[in-house]
Each structure stands twice: as structure tokens, then as C-alpha cells.
Amino acid sequence: MAAPTFETPKLLDDTATLPIPKIQPGAMQGIKSFVASDKIQEQLGFPGELLPNWKERAIERMGELLKKYRGLQVFLDSCVHCGACTDKCHYYLGTSDPNNMPVARQELVRKVYRRYFTFGGKYFPKLVGAMDLTEDVLDQWYSYFYQCSECRRCSVYCPYGIDTAEITMAAREIMDSVGHGQKYSNEILGKLHRIGNNLGLPGPALLDTLEGLEEDILADTGVPVRLPIDQKGAEVLLVTPSADFFSEPHVESLIGYAKVFHAAGISWTLSTTASEAGNFGLFLGSYENMRKAALRIREAALELGVKRIVVGECGHAWRVAYSFWNTLTGVGAGADDPYGKMLQQQLDHRYKQPSHICEVTYDLIQRGVITLDKSANDHRTVTFHDSCNVARASRMGDMPGGQFIIPREIIKAACNNFHDMSADTIGEGTFCCGGGGGLLTDDLMEVRVKGAMPRMQALKNVVDEKQVNFMATICAICKAQFTKVLPYYGFDMSMVGGVHQLVSTAIQLDTKE
């Protein structure tokens, strides 16, 4: 296949609000990520290739999901086609393809739902907009449900809270269950199940890397900051995206976490078996796979006897950890069943379980346990990109919206120059980076570049007006996506980095020795 050629959207010079494009039907119909091989599929318990009776099985699976997920049933019934969501998806704004409007994306499933599960669709399909499940429809599903990053922006603006992410997850789960999965996500989840992290790093490689990082920090700072692994009896188990071990700029944040624990005198450890916070089971919409991946953390916590579980900078991982770990594996509080209690009696409930690394750092700053020298970051003028899963599917601290306040407070404690991007592009209305939800693959580069346009536009505005030169974020996918996409828009790829990268620069290591 020839390298895809496409035009990067043009950014406007001076704009307060993004223009809404006219629809261009079919603009992105041909864009598809690679299909998973039989080997990849079977590792996850899915059929290796498209089943001969796939239609029947798909409809049957839809029926099962409708009974298992109230959200799916309610969301498929409730849409009135009001149009409130039509200009809210970054993929629509960047591609003009009407099937990237949340409502139209949902309709791809809803039309099939109507045809097989509702009176109107069974007897008056044309009238109510119902359609048979055909190969063409499957083809459209495969295109457009891998052009959704499950970022939930649409769900903020829907008068019924219809969350396209839930529909996308159901569609992907149905496609997986008939043997038509996506190579990128499914291969990575297979690696996580088999080896313990998304990158497929075995334990010895990890040890090597951590030793190397310890040497680097010592050379840089003269302080022996440790990155311990598999340390039984440590207070904290840190679970972080595996990109933090190898990728730039991710690793800078890992160094930041290590320095925070060092400066605060908290004993901590990583784990070779739970060396991944990411959980692509979420992207697949597969409860069983998501649970299986999360169980590694439970097992490591039980084995290492830790009192606290802390999660590194990763958006979807924090959604799974914050919102789902307690449900899936009992990492949390308030269990009254033996399974949940087994772990929860071990954990120290003076701290939130699990905690986000930003909650930990913020608390230490508040209590004066660690000291930051803001001037160390004076070469940076910083803005903050709220990651979708943190913003709209989780929380930090005790207060609703703490997920917006806490990272910004850390940044402000670590630097002198901070400016937010325009208000409708941050907080709960934040634009996805364009690479989340299982789209962070080169075969979807066009979707990623175009989908990043709204964020790039907002960034350009603060670069032009406030001379911003650093966009901090707390998500491994955001970091990887921006590193790749920034140059398409004429920005330097090193403009993106982690919040704990800023902390790492500013933290005073010798004050609490």
C-alpha cells in the first residue's frame, strides 16, 4: 500500500471560535486501520476470522449487550436527532465527514438496532431509518468506529447524556466477537495479557532500563534517586504506562515520580508483573478482557503487600483505575464481599485507593513535604492539555472538577509562566489529542492528524498570544500522539511533555535528606 497522502488542515490566524465545516459525505469512508490476524484475535478469545454466520452472531451479540448494559439500551432508544452533538467531535471538525458527527456515528449501530429490535424498524424500516446488517454496513462500522477515540466530549453536550464511547465500545465488541477485530488494539492487549505490558518488555529489560535511569539521575543531580522494582513491603505500588519506561518525553515524567517519592521519603516500588497501567480492554469494550488486564494489578498488590496503589500519567488508565478498578478487582474501598475485602483490608484508607500521582504530588506540595523551585522552569511558558479520560471520566481529590484543578496547581507550583488555552477547549469541553481510544497507529495517521486540528488551533492561539512553548499533559497517548502530530502543524515535537517533567525540573532533592 502506498503511503497515504492527505492535506493537513490549515490553522487560522486569529480565531476565538472554530468554524463548523460543511458536511462532505464519505470523506473518510476509505480510511481503515489494519484488521487483526487470526493469531491476535484468538489470544483474546475472539474468532480468528470473520465467521460464516457473522450476521446472525452479530445480532445475537447485540441482543446480549443490550441486556448487560443499561446505557446501551437507553442510548439507542433515546436519541431525538436534535443535532446538539453534530459540531462537537474533533474528528468531524477535522474531517468534515458527517459520519464523524456523534449522532451519525451512533446511527450506524442504531439503524441496525432498530431493524432487528424495534417495532418501527421491523415493519417500517424506511420511515424510521432502519437498515439491514450487510457487509457494507460492517465495512462502515469498521471505518467509523475506529475513527472515534471514545473521548466522551459528545456526552457532555447531549441533553440525555448519550455517550458515543459506549456505542463505539459495543460496536467494536460485536465486531471482535464475529472475528473482525483491529490489529493495533488487539495485538497490544494480547501482549499485555502475555507479557505484562503494552510494549512487551520482559522483566530483565525493565530492570536494565531502570538501572540506566538511576545512573542518569545521579549524573544529572548528584543524588542517588532509586527506581525500585518488585520490592516487597514497599508502601506504594506505582503502576504507570509502559511508555514511561522507554519513550520520550514520557520517561521524563517517570524520573519526576521517582524524585517526588525520593524527596518525600516514601518507599515505593514498580512491579514486573504489573508493569502497565494502560488497559486497552477499555477501548475494545470487552469487560472480560478489561478485567483480566486489571487483575494483574490486584495480584501484584497482594503479592508485594503494598499499602497504597498509585497510578502514573495516563488518561485511559486513570479512567480504568479510578472508575473501574474497584468494580473489576477490588482496588478501592467500601467492599462488603470477601473478594473485595481481601485486598482492601491490606490497603491504607487514609489515602484514596487508587491515587493519581498528581494527587500524591499535590498533597506533598500542600503539606510542604516537597519543595519546588519555580525559576528552574523559567525557560518554559506552559499550557495544560486536559486529557479526555481524566477530564470526563474520572476525578482527582474530593471535589468534582478536582481533575482540572490539581494538575494546574502542580504546574503553577512548578513554573512561573502558565496560560490556559481558550475556555471551551479545556476542562470538561477539552478536545481529545486525536490519538486516543485505540487509534494511536500509523495506519490511521490521517485520522490522527485531522482529529488533532481543534487542539492544534487552540494551541496556536496561546502560542501566538502568550508565547507558550510547552504543552503539559498527563497521558501517555496524548504525549505520543502530539509528538507525532505537532510537526504536521509546524510546531516543534518537543513542545509536549508531562506535568511531572516540570516537577522533575523544579524539585529540590536535598531539602529533606
Binding site: S78, H81, T86, V128, N326
Partner: protein, 242 residues
């Protein structure tokens, strides 16, 4: 007793049965399906009271729609509030004596119909004028709007233009409620009005009008944001731990 009276009496019994049983069936279905994961759209309330407030703002003020699009919000809100007041005024045809509050609402109820129809016309115009909304509109979207506008206009016709025999209509309606059939006034506008209302009742539980009960069951709006404090496990998910 004329055939039309019998027809409309029968129609209203059937329509009421379909509306009530159909909605009960859907509500049972929504209530019975578990929500296995905590998925409130955050920032979300951390207490049940907070959730009740959030849902209240959503249902009464259309909070999310307000954030989203001011045109849809103003038309949608005008229509729904207009409809609510009009419906409340209509209680007078189903009770004797009339509650004071219903009598009090009479003048407001009459003029609320203008808000209702204006809102509907605005919403309908968007289906033609905005290319994105045109793209997603189905024939049934247009028909439901026509039906509601038809109900509004025929009702306004009887209120403001050519009065129907409202006393006989009330006797007919009160009769239906005690399974007694009294003659229906032979007024074509009234009959059109009633036929359209019955149609709306019949399609309610099988159409997008299900957004009315649906919103209360929407997990992104009705869940408390407390997953770290309380372990939330659906029955089918608990099976996986055995």
C-alpha cells in the same frame, strides 16, 4: 350513539393501553438491565442529592443542551415548557370539580400553545436549514414534528378561532374515565385534534419519544461519582469472581 363516537372511544382506550403498557414495558426493561460500570460524565455529583439536582437541572432547564447550542435550546425549551403548561391546562377536561391550580393555569395554558408551536417550527426549520441536521433527519423525525404541530394548531383553532362544544367534550371524556360512552361533538377540527393525540400516544413507546423516560435512566447523568469509595458490581459481573 354515532359510529365516530364509538370509534374515538375505542381509539382512546387502545391508545391509553398502548401508552401505559408500552411505557411500563420499556421502563421495566431499562430498570432491569444492569449498569455494570460507573460511567457518569464528569465532573459529576459525589452524592445522591447532587445527582437529583443534576437530573432536575437536566430535565427542567435542559442544562447540557444549553451548553451545547443556544438555538436548539431555546426552541426545544419553548416547545417542552409550552407543552407542559398546555397539558396541565387540559387536566380540566378530566376532572370535576376543577382543581383551583388548574383553573388558575387556564389563561397561561391558552397562550403557552404559541410558545409550543413556535418552538416546534424553529426545530423543524433547523431540519431544513442546517446541513448537519438535515443529514441526520429521518422521515419519522419530520412526521413527529408535523404531528405535534398539527395537534398544536388544531387545539389553537378551537381555543382562538372556532370554539368546539367543550361541555359535551368534557362529558365524553369524563364518561370514558368511568367506562361510560357519551356522544362526542361532531366537529372535524376536534376529531382531527383527538386523532392526532391518540396517534402520538400510540407511537410514544415505540419511537424516539422514549427520550422522556430514557433520560432518567441515563447512566452518564444518574450515577454518583464515588467509585473509589463504594464497590459497585453488577450481578452478571459478580459471577466472574466465583
Amino acid at each position: 350513539m354515532t359510529t365516530t363516537t364509538l370509534f374515538f372511544a375505542g381509539l382512546f382506550y387502545v391508545a391509553t393501553a398502548i401508552l401505559v403498557l408500552g411505557l411500563a414495558r420499556k421502563i421495566y426493561q431499562y430498570a432491569k438491565a444492569p449498569a455494570p460500570l460507573k460511567i457518569p460524565t464528569t465532573p459529576a455529583p459525589t452524592t445522591k442529592t447532587g445527582v437529583v439536582m443534576r437530573m432536575g437541572r437536566e430535565v427542567v432547564l435542559f442544562e447540557s443542551l444549553f451548553k451545547s447550542n443556544k438555538w436548539i435550546w431555546i426552541f426545544g425549551w419553548l416547545f417542552h415548557v409550552g407543552l407542559a403548561v398546555v397539558l396541565f391546562r387540559h387536566l380540566r377536561y378530566f376532572q370535576q370539580p376543577i382543581w383551583d391550580i388548574v383553573a388558575l393555569a387556564q389563561p397561561f395554558g391558552k397562550y403557552a400553545s404559541f410558545a409550543m408551536v413556535a418552538g416546534l417550527l424553529g426545530l423543524w426549520a433547523r431540519r431544513f436549514l442546517v446541513d448537519r441536521v438535515r443529514y441526520i433527519s429521518t422521515p419519522s423525525d419530520h412526521l413527529i414534528l408535523m404531528l405535534l404541530i398539527g395537534i398544536g394548531l388544531s387545539g389553537m383553532g378551537m381555543t382562538f378561532v372556532a370554539h368546539t362544544d367543550i361541555v359535551s367534550l368534557k362529558i365524553f371524556m369524563l364518561g370514558l374515565m368511568s367506562f361510560e360512552i357519551n356522544p362526542l361533538p361532531q366537529d372535524p377540527i376536534l376529531m382531527a385534534h383527538l386523532a392526532m393525540v391518540a396517534t402520538l400516544m400510540i407511537i410514544f413507546p415505540i419511537s424516539k419519544l422514549l427520550h422522556a423516560p430514557g433520560v432518567f435512566f441515563s447512566p452518564s447523568r444518574n450515577q454518583v461519582d464515588d467509585p473509589r469509595e463504594h464497590r459497585h458490581v453488577a450481578p452478571w459481573a459478580a459471577e466472574l469472581e466465583k
